[in-house]
């Protein structure tokens, strides 16, 4: 049964159905040993319908064809009983031609040896650390988008991911990831080694000291904050009050050395695809150019509302960034660090929470290796600090960017992925518990 035709025959005006068949597996490890192996064989249908501009959308999993048809009917009925949305103004009109996005599918991923990847990473981490925790994940998915506006597109995507956190003592840790769509380019050994090396460097941390610091952020750390930049750039979040970028298009929001793009077509991009959820071909969008916010991230409806063109970032209800990329600078990471007289080097942060999304006031907690820099050299390790800041101020205070980009994605702290070099930000406010 063709669900799109079925939905239109049953009263839907616009219909978009994304079907994803996913085969994936994961090995979780802790204390240097496997704690669980998991695998998923799951099909889901993301169904969107509109009736007289009232919209309804749902994800259906585990339904027979008959049940799915019944669920779609229920969704159409829900749209009929709802009220028209001022925000919805139709789906993208296709068909489109899709240029191949390179290196997002690798038939070798299915046979890739999961246990070997874990063991390789654990061994590499073990050269410099006592124990490790993390996971290995591989995924093969077939994705199809069909709409009532002329779209019928399909693609295959593979993913390999390893995330490892190495420990000596509990306060001496390092975290690294490797993310790739292809077997070539996936490097669990390097991730393990880097996590172990950071754990070793973080030896004997002492309580930090509150104050203003020039801070070098490693990709895992700055990636966390840049992922907020990506989220805050979507029109859904701006209109919903979850962003401090409202009314800022065309305005200087970051230092002029900051150039950020969203690239849904990135070669071996960990969240690349040929088309968004409406079936629009993915593209490269300048989000911040020379520090100026150039555009929000749009789907067809939000673009019409803002009198511009879609940036191919559907979600039909809420847009999302694809692969957010901070353009590299010209200096090596070593020279970037050597240029800091009195500062900190932060390798990772977590638990970023905003006091006000409108103003950008927030705090976040550095974790894993946190190092003191004196006269360009690392002289010690600290812990228990918190960065208490304003995101808008931090973007303006970015003062240098290193020359090599890394892909970082972990948990919900950074997801979708961010591609970023090391970044130096001046005058970052650091606080500690008062007792």
């Amino acid at each position: 049964m063709n669900l799109v035709s079925f939905a239109t025959k049953n009263g839907a005006d616009d219909v978009a159905i994304e079907t994803i068949k996913q085969k994936s597996s994961q090995i979780k490890f802790a204390n240097g040993s496997v704690s669980v192996g998991q695998n998923w064989l799951v099909t889901r249908h993301n169904v969107f319908v509109s009736v007289k501009n009232a919209t309804a959308s749902s994800t259906f999993r585990g339904l027979t064809e008959e049940q799915l048809a019944d669920a779609v009917k229920s969704l159409i009925l829900a749209a009929k009983k709802s009220k028209p949305s001022n925000e919805y103004s139709g789906l993208a009109k296709g068909p489109f031609k899709y240029k191949k996005v390179n290196a997002i599918y690798d038939k070798n991923v299915d046979a890739y040896d999961s246990a070997d990847a874990v063991k390789t990473s654990l061994d590499a981490a073990g050269e410099n650390s006592k124990t490790s925790a993390g996971f290995f994940y591989k995924e093969l998915s077939e994705r199809c988008v069909e709409t009532s506006c002329g779209i019928d597109a399909e693609e295959k995507i593979t993913k390999l991911q390893l995330s490892i956190r190495a420990f000596n003592e509990q306060n001496e840790s390092g975290h690294a990831v490797s993310c790739s769509c292809m077997v070539k380019g996936f490097d669990p050994e390097n991730a393990g080694r880097r996590a172990g090396e950071t754990a070793k460097m973080a030896k004997n941390p002492v309580n930090g000291t509150p104050g203003k610091y020039n801070v070098v952020f490693a990709p895992m750390a700055i990636g966390n904050l840049l992922s907020r930049v990506g989220e805050f750039s979507t029109t859904f979040n701006i209109d919903s009050g979850f962003s401090c970028f409202g009314g800022k298009v065309g305005k200087q929001i970051a230092n002029k050395i900051v150039n950020i793009t969203d690239n849904g077509r990135l070669q071996n991009g960990f969240n690349s695809s040929h088309f968004d959820d409406e079936g629009v071909p993915t593209k490269i969008t300048n989000v911040i150019k020379n520090g100026v916010l150039k555009t929000y991230l749009h789907n067809t409806s939000s673009a019409k509302k803002h009198r511009t063109k879609t940036t191919a970032n559907a979600g039909i209800i809420a847009q999302r960034y694809n692969n957010l990329i901070l353009e590299p600078g010209k200096i090596t990471m070593e020279k970037l660090l050597a240029g800091v007289d009195n500062g900190l080097y932060v390798t990772n942060v977590w638990y970023t929470r905003f006091q006000s999304y409108y103003t950008g006031v927030f705090s976040t907690i550095p974790r894993d290796g946190i190092f003191v820099i004196k006269n360009g050299s690392i002289v010690g390790s600290v812990n228990n600090i918190r960065i208490t800041e304003n995101l808008m101020d931090m973007l303006k205070n970015i003062s240098n960017i290193s020359n090599i980009t890394e892909c970082v994605q972990w948990w919900e702290e950074i997801s979708p992925p961010v591609y970023t070099p090391y970044v130096l930000i001046k005058d970052v406010n650091v606080t500690l518990p008062t007792m």
Partner: protein
């Protein structure tokens, strides 16, 4: 459900252990933004989780294909993955011995969720939005996300447990922003297990209007000097502190390092039980059995009967949250803390409803101090991954002078270690309130419904951050 689950367990009969959990979830959802119905949704979600233990290695499969062939494949894949992982398992999995249970439980609904139409729900939200607009305050954002679900679950294991449950749940997330001289925002989450009757019990129109009026005043209020003082915390603040700095670090899997990669570890160790963490009037529990609470259940996702757990008793660390795997490691019994947020997720150690038990003080007695601050609500909070260093920033907060609440104050911050927080408690109120949230943990991330709260409490002589 029952027949399928029985069939799958029998397919795994050669394993050391097997269990099967089948879930069927139905419901609906509405997003209303600035008066505009952004979308409505219909939930239909069915699938199965099968866990097997082979050579001390745990393998899990998830599928939503219930054909005989697919179910057999799911079992075979779980076994294969367990076997292949076994070669790098250093500590073979053991499970605490628990008595098999056969039972059914249902949460009743005065007004069944399935009998309330989308139109009725939409009308309620539109009314709520209009009530806010009628205040003539300037609202840059009014965002409501309403969802209802009815979750049927059947659990069975190779040891003989067979448990059916039906749990309806209704929840509403609100984000309201008010602009006066600046913009202040309030995020709030309401939720219960039960029927539609709870939507009315939340008294949203009065509550949200009062809060919006306060938000309009906050930007022009003074900040407080950062000095030592007495801090009175509302049930909302007590709840988040209980959840973050007591519930999480007492999760035994964190203590064992199983979630160290993402959610982190704990400052609590195996030797911490029986040691002092707070003043002797602190009694803090996690209790899944609170009727109609957001985190309610009677059996966990390993078929163990739920009960109240005293995490802190008279200021001493008393009990940890355990599933069968961690309980075996600690040489104890599971206390039914194993939860998964859907059929497509592994059960891990989770909280249910975490709260400070009420004491004997009235609110007037608690604020009867010469100088202090009363923090009623918050926006920003966080805590480190060992659950030791935390921060809560007040949203609605009042200065206390000579036993009376004076004017609003702007963003008082409490940045404090966990032992310092709980040791400073010198008064616990008679009142009690549970707030709710979706707690995140696991890989892949599992957001799970929980409650947290307590009475008003007072922290004596702590430094404002």
């Amino acid at each position: 459900m029952n027949d399928i689950a029985e069939k799958v367990v029998s397919m795994a009969s050669g394993c050391e252990y097997a269990d099967v959990r089948i879930e069927n979830v139905t419901g609906d959802s509405i997003i209303l933004k600035n008066g505009d119905p952004i979308t409505v949704g219909v939930t239909r979600n069915t699938g199965m989780c099968v866990r097997v233990v082979v050579k001390g290695s745990l393998g899990i499969s998830f599928t939503n294909d219930f054909s005989n062939k697919a179910m057999k494949e799911a079992v075979d894949r779980a076994i294969k993955l367990a076997k292949s992982s076994a070669k790098i398992v250093k500590n073979p999995l053991r499970m605490s011995k628990e008595t098999p249970v056969k039972d059914k439980f249902y949460v009743s609904e005065e007004k069944k969720l399935s009998n309330v139409t989308i139109e009725e729900k939409m009308e309620e939200l539109v009314f709520l939005d209009k009530v806010l607009v009628s205040t003539n305050l300037n609202f840059p954002t009014r965002f409501f996300d309403l969802s209802t679900e009815c979750r049927e679950k059947y659990y069975c294991n190779s040891e003989g447990s067979r448990i059916y449950s039906y749990v309806p749940r209704v929840s509403l997330f609100c984000l309201v922003a008010v602009k006066s001289t600046d913009v202040e925002q309030r995020m709030e989450h309401f939720g219960n297990t039960g029927g539609w009757e709870f939507f009315r019990k939340w008294d949203l129109d009065n509550k949200l209007v009062e809060e919006a009026k306060i938000l309009a005043k906050i930007p022009s209020m003074p900040s407080m000097k950062k000095e030592r003082m007495n801090i009175v915390l509302s049930p909302e603040l007590v709840g988040i502190a209980s959840h973050e700095s007591c519930g999480h670090p007492y999760e035994a899997d964190r203590i064992l390092g199983r979630e160290a990669a993402n959610a982190g570890g704990s400052f609590v160790t195996k030797k911490s039980i029986g040691t002092r963490i707070g003043s002797n009037i602190v009694n803090l529990v996690d209790d899944p059995t609170v009727k109609n609470s957001f985190g309610f259940y009677l059996y966990d996702d390993e078929g163990v009967k739920a009960r109240k757990r005293y995490l802190i008793k008279n200021g001493m660390i008393n009990e940890l949250l355990q599933n069968r795997e961690t309980a075996a490691e600690f040489g104890t019994k599971s206390n039914a803390s194993s939860r998964a947020n859907s059929w497509a997720a592994e059960p891990i150690v989770r909280m249910a409803n975490t709260f400070v038990e009420p004491g004997d003080h009235t609110f007037d007695e608690i604020i009867d101090v010469k100088k202090g601050v009363y923090i009623k609500s918050y926006m920003e909070w966080n805590i480190d991954d060992k659950r030791f260093n935390q921060r809560y920033v007040g949203l609605e907060a009042y200065e206390i002078k000579n036993g009376s609440l004076e004017g609003l104050v702007k963003r008082p911050a409490l940045e404090i270690t966990t032992p310092a927080f709980w040791s400073a408690v010198d008064a616990v109120g008679k009142d009690f309130e549970l707030t709710v949230g979706n707690c995140g943990k696991g890989e892949p991330m599992q957001g799970i419904p929980v409650g947290f709260g307590g009475p008003h409490i007072r922290l004596r002589n702590v430094m404002l951050g």
